[in-house]
Symmetry: C2
Subunit: 145 residues, 2 copies
DNA sequence: CGATATTATCATAAAGATGTCGTGAATATA
DNA sequence: TATATTCACGACATCTTTATGATAATATCG
């Protein structure tokens, strides 16, 4: 449903949002914490910085931090940088034209389904994910939960 | 949401299911009809044959036909040959363990969403798609609607 | 049988996603 | 200023998906 890259981004942001007082975390620590290749995660983090979702600081004690309030950050804003979730949705049957007024036989059912998914991503914020979440065994190298 | 390959398969099967008295259609005609590269579609059709969804006949007047009743063929059976839809679902946040009893913070919401998608594919049959469907402009090279 | 039509299969190429490496630029600290 | 630390960025490597092409196998029909 999501590309690996998008999922990596999601994990990283969620982990960062759990840092006490939003302290910066180094890319390598983050990579170890969320089990993503160090250098690849670097690129993803960089994309998130350019999108204004994260801030980065270089040099000693530097790292990455959330740039926005978790409650104001939807999962869609993160995921949309890497995957196409709702926009430009294609007709399931590949019809060039498929709309409410000229629908293919599955249009309504499919739309209802796709809308459901999109709502999940638009309505769920990182703040929602924060609440009451415990972390799995492998994720404790950084205290991020 | 679906890979290109899975969508191609879906289109081809739907088109075949519309053939009057299930007459065989050549791969090249089918390819033109659903706008998929000829040779690539060949492989996809072959996969569908091996899965028992289509029958193929070689030689003159040969081609591909549905091997089952449209009403007995769910979209999942087609799509599952190329994509993983419901099974082996991963935790959105990448937790190694994520279950009903030990859920991550988004588990329930996400599960509800993913279940919804899966039900769409399991519950919708090719027969459902057949009913009352008109085809788009580019799809008429073969009378398949 | 011989000619033709059509799928089956294998080899390979092109494109995209994923992952690695090295060098440069910015920052903190001494 | 010098040094260590850390992100920025571009080049490259690998793997998967998508696509192409050539040849073999099989069926029809005269």
């Amino acid at each position: 449903m999501l590309s690996g890259t998008a999922e990596y981004a999601l994990r990283a942001v969620v982990c960062l949002s759990r840092q006490p007082n939003h302290a910066p975390v180094r890319a390598s620590d983050l990579a170890a914490s969320v089990s993503v290749p160090r250098n690849y995660l670097g690129k993803i983090l960089h994309d998130l910085v350019r999108a204004g979702i994260l801030k980065s600081t270089r040099g000693k004690n530097g790292g990455f931090q959330l740039a926005v309030e978790p409650g104001d950050l939807s999962l869609l804003q993160i995921v949309t940088l890497f995957d196409q979730i709702g926009e430009r949705r294609r007709c399931l049957l590949g019809r060039p034209e498929c709309s409410e007024s000229d629908p293919c036989p599955v249009h309504h059912r499919w739309k209802e389904c796709a809308d459901h998914v999109q709502r999940f991503f638009t309505d769920t914020t990182v703040g929602d994910v924060l609440d009451g979440g415990s972390l799995g065994p492998g994720e404790t190298s950084i205290p991020c939960g």
